[in-house]
Symmetry: D2
Subunit: 344 residues, 4 copies
């Protein structure tokens, strides 16, 4: 474990519970944090110098839970020392560095995984199942809200902080390449770091995705609407148990494929039926994250959320950042990537 701040202890607890893994050492710049871990897990070695940990032959794999800007150098060093690497979201602070890690891991024959925790929740998996079953039809839009009175980060804005969750969910459910990104935000803490932002993604076939992320909201809302051609889904992550609702609701378009005249007069029919709240199990997502990292190492296979999944999220974040700085000017993903790679 490199970094045992807010998220680190949760990771240690979940890796400790695995049969196939052992937490052998951790590092952090803060001695105070290390003391807490040492008290709770007397058998775990600790150091304030993560390079010691990289040189430790007992260590096969590292989990990196440090500030975003340090992900790349630490992960790169870990790969160079022959360790498998799991990194907290977002994978790195640029698309180029994300791809670079992917390639280095490949070259080294090591596993590279990003902790997109929500992909491992029962709720998101259930939505994936519903899509795969064909029950929902085609996805028309993805609308996501993740707001509350949250911690104002000092090094990254609210998009880099919160949107990776929703982008990873979107990437997992839509399985499509966005064409363009735009983002608008505002800063209210006098430091020019956006604490509220709206991001829109355009996809082929009139598919649209939209994200509202906000550290300055009076209420906690974590809600996703999945508009589809047959049924629609509301995913409310604040609900303790009934997180997913499947609405047998929508429209039927008649005559839309005919002449221009006909298309103009397209008749829309409205359907409204039952609502289903499917049972979802209560396994902790982080337990599955830990297991997936260990299993992918043992089975020598790509993990579900591999480096490329991390890259796909980061390149959108990077394009959103460009758009944000240009007052919401639309940024084409293709161009953004080229620019990112050429800048390096």
């Amino acid at each position: 474990m490199i970094g045992v701040g807010y998220w680190g202890p949760n990771l240690i607890r979940n890796f400790s519970d695995l049969d196939d893994a052992q937490v052998v050492a951790c590092s952090d710049l803060s001695q105070e944090r290390l003391n807490k871990i040492a008290k709770r897990y007397p058998g775990v070695k600790w150091t304030t110098n993560y390079e010691e940990l990289l040189r430790d032959p007992d260590v096969d794999a590292v989990v990196v839970a440090t500030p975003v800007s340090t992900h790349y150098p630490i992960a790169r060093a870990a790969l160079e020392h022959g360790k498998h690497v799991m990194i907290e979201k977002p994978l790195a602070d640029s698309a180029f560095r994300s791809l670079d890690l992917v390639e280095r891991a490949k070259a080294a024959g090591k596993i590279l995984m990003v902790d997109h925790t929500f992909i491992y929740t029962s709720a998101v998996r259930k939505m994936r199942d519903l899509i795969d079953s064909g029950e929902l039809g085609d996805i028309l839009y993805f609308d996501s809200i993740r707001v509350n009175l949250g911690l104002f980060q000092k090094d990254i804005n609210v998009i880099w902080d919160l949107a990776p969750h929703d982008l990873s969910i979107m990437d997992y459910l839509l399985r499509a390449e966005p064409i363009a990104v735009s983002a608008i935000g505002a800063s209210h803490a006098g430091n020019n770091i956006a604490n509220i932002a709206y991001m829109t993604l355009r996809f082929p076939n009139n598919v649209i995705a939209h994200f509202h992320v906000n550290w300055l909201a009076p209420v906690k809302i974590r809600q996703t609407l999945l508009g589809c051609s047959k049924k629609m889904v509301v995913y409310d992550d604040v609900e303790p148990t009934d997180k997913i609702r499947v609405y047998d609701k929508g429209i039927t378009v008649n005559g839309g494929n005919g002449s221009a005249e006909k298309r103009y007069q397209a008749l829309v029919g409205y359907r409204t039926g039952d609502v289903l709240i499917p049972k979802i199990d209560t396994t902790e997502a982080l337990q599955r994250v830990a297991q997936e990292f260990v299993s992918s190492i043992i089975e020598n296979r790509a993990p579900l959320t591999d480096g490329l999944a991390g890259y796909r999220v980061v390149r959108i974040l990077e394009a959103a950042q460009q758009s944000l700085e240009a007052n919401g000017r639309e940024v084409l993903l293709q161009e953004a990537v080229v620019e990112s790679l050429s800048r390096s």
Copy 2:
């Protein structure tokens, strides 16, 4: 009453209840609709030709509840016949025509009012009171959602259909001039009319407003977040009684006004206190709308939602339309208005 479709009967009922007014005549292109009215209100004259109604000396004032594209010609004709005019939202289909009506009404010495119904709800008035009292501090952002499985209009997109409500509320609460508008949407009925759209407005001083309007949502959401510097408000119009919640919650920024170094290190403090659900009375908003039109005529004064209020909403709609057609390119309000006026 010109136009007795969906909204017209509600207007007739509310004007009928007034002591100072009498509903004397109504017109509609549909004989079927007129028959319904005739049955319920035997004393009211009816005609399929609204010009008869304009020539009727018993008629002092007309209420126009017809499709948006007909607002301007009907209202203009009514003013020319010396009638006071109230028009359903939006006032007209262009900023130019809106201003033209304002000027014609002024020249004719007649009242011109737009039915921005939500301004007359107890909930919105309560928010206005809270702002005026200084209790909320400065407004930082306005975030609004108005979605459900709604009627797919054939002549206007979802922004022109639903956003006038929220824009009028925003205009009433913020009392500020937006700098720029951007809007992105998608069409899923094969007719190129957006049924889902996101609109963002930038204001001076980092104030931002955002709108999600949607005819294709599985659930009915009508929620507004009002982020302010002292307290914050959630307005949930779907709630039957507890529509307004005032959160004694927010951040305190320290040191943000010092050197660059200091600004970077700006310390953010978090406050969280009680939540208040103020009692709001249950008077029907449309009753107040009808009364305001009649009172403004009797007292010969501008109504609360006068032609200029209607114009301010329409010019944003028009700019949003331009942005929508340019994939979300930001449109400066100043330029949009100039263009609108010059086009005419």
Copy 3:
């Protein structure tokens, strides 16, 4: 219409909409109320003396919406004048008088119906369908809450005011004869009329029903739990659309039929699955009530909520009243009925 107070205008509106019926006359002791009706329905005759109405040959049937204590004399007089009769809930103020009306209607060959409105709601009908389908299994308990800050009646306590709704629903869903009733309440308005009360009914086979009725509650709750052996239902009448939820949840009892030893060790298994919110239509219940009265007259058949249904509810109310006066002492229904009949 005899009695045009709170509920009367709703009844007039619904009967007016029927093709097979005509509202010809109404009576009330209050001239003010009659004026309101006269204004809205100019064609309807009115009188302050209901006997005029009973003598009117244009009147085939009367609807009685007067205070409870007057139901019996008015209905009896109406039957004597050869009119069909529908009476607001509860049918009468005693079981004896209820049965007497049933017999008089039978002898006169006239329809006697009680307005148990909730039986005609889509939500209650849906629950009836679910029970009939066998999907829910056996009913184990019926738990109902009907509370809010309601009008403190001066002539009847909260059980006689609110419980008829829930008792009629229970009667319709359980289709079983209760063995015993107990009720406890309290009065807080200084007039010895209970404004909060709890009522419990025992049925054969360990089935139990419980009712909380309350005029002095800070929130409006109208919720019924239907505990069944296979699935369970929550009916929340305050919800605007999702009134019914069917939970695939419950217990499985193993070994409960063996020896005493085995019964003691009965193993309980727990099942928990999906939740279904069935679509229910939005037809106004009172429309169906009006139609049922008219149809039962035309077809000369017993209405769904006939006099006997009214009697079954009243005899429970009467027994509950006895129990209430005896601090909750259980009253056997059989004995209560005998006593009621012998008292007369």
Copy 4:
């Protein structure tokens, strides 16, 4: 710690966090449970024989978290060995045994505490504060629901399992002696142990308390209505943060103190104002429980939930049990206590 089943590990964790206390030993009949504790807390001694623990001179105080029927013998033995004792709710399985423990603790000069956890929650304390401030006026009724699909206990019925929580809250808030108890229930697992029950308590001055406890409900409801003369409170323990709502709502009774005639005509006025959701802190109640036990030992004073508080709850449970076995016949508390003491 004696008993480390479901609740024991939570107690160990909270006592471990205290500065003034040390968890030195635990016992349980199950070696499997002990192994789990041993793994997590390597420094804690363990034994399958709790008497070893009582003889251990390192042990100053014991916490008893075993089945209800064993509370008395274990607590008695602990007091005889000179240990302070905290017992899980309910204190013992009879009022007599509860009082006996109180007297033995007093004679031995040792602390006797019952773990009425809810008394230590921020929500219940907030309600206590609201009552003390006089803001609510007089308490008129206490209505409590605690239902879900819960574990069917084999040794005690649902009243003994769940009602101690609500009775302890009621005892803490009302500070009044109930006159009489009645309870009705039903058993659906074939073992004659009630899994659903309703309990009513009568107090002087028309105050009433009612409890619905249920292991066989499809939804989790933990809601208390506190009806008062000035304001009313809804306490919803399922809400993650907004657990308490204070309603400025109620009735005003005029003229109720005059002649019989006047009392009959008592005029009831209705008040309805704002709703306040007070901020409550998020300290874990069990942390406060542990601290209170340790502090009361150090300061040699009665804990907030002392043996007498435990006794007051148990004597109601015992009376409720009698009533349950007599189909809800009301049991006078005074008589029930005399009987309980004389039986011994």
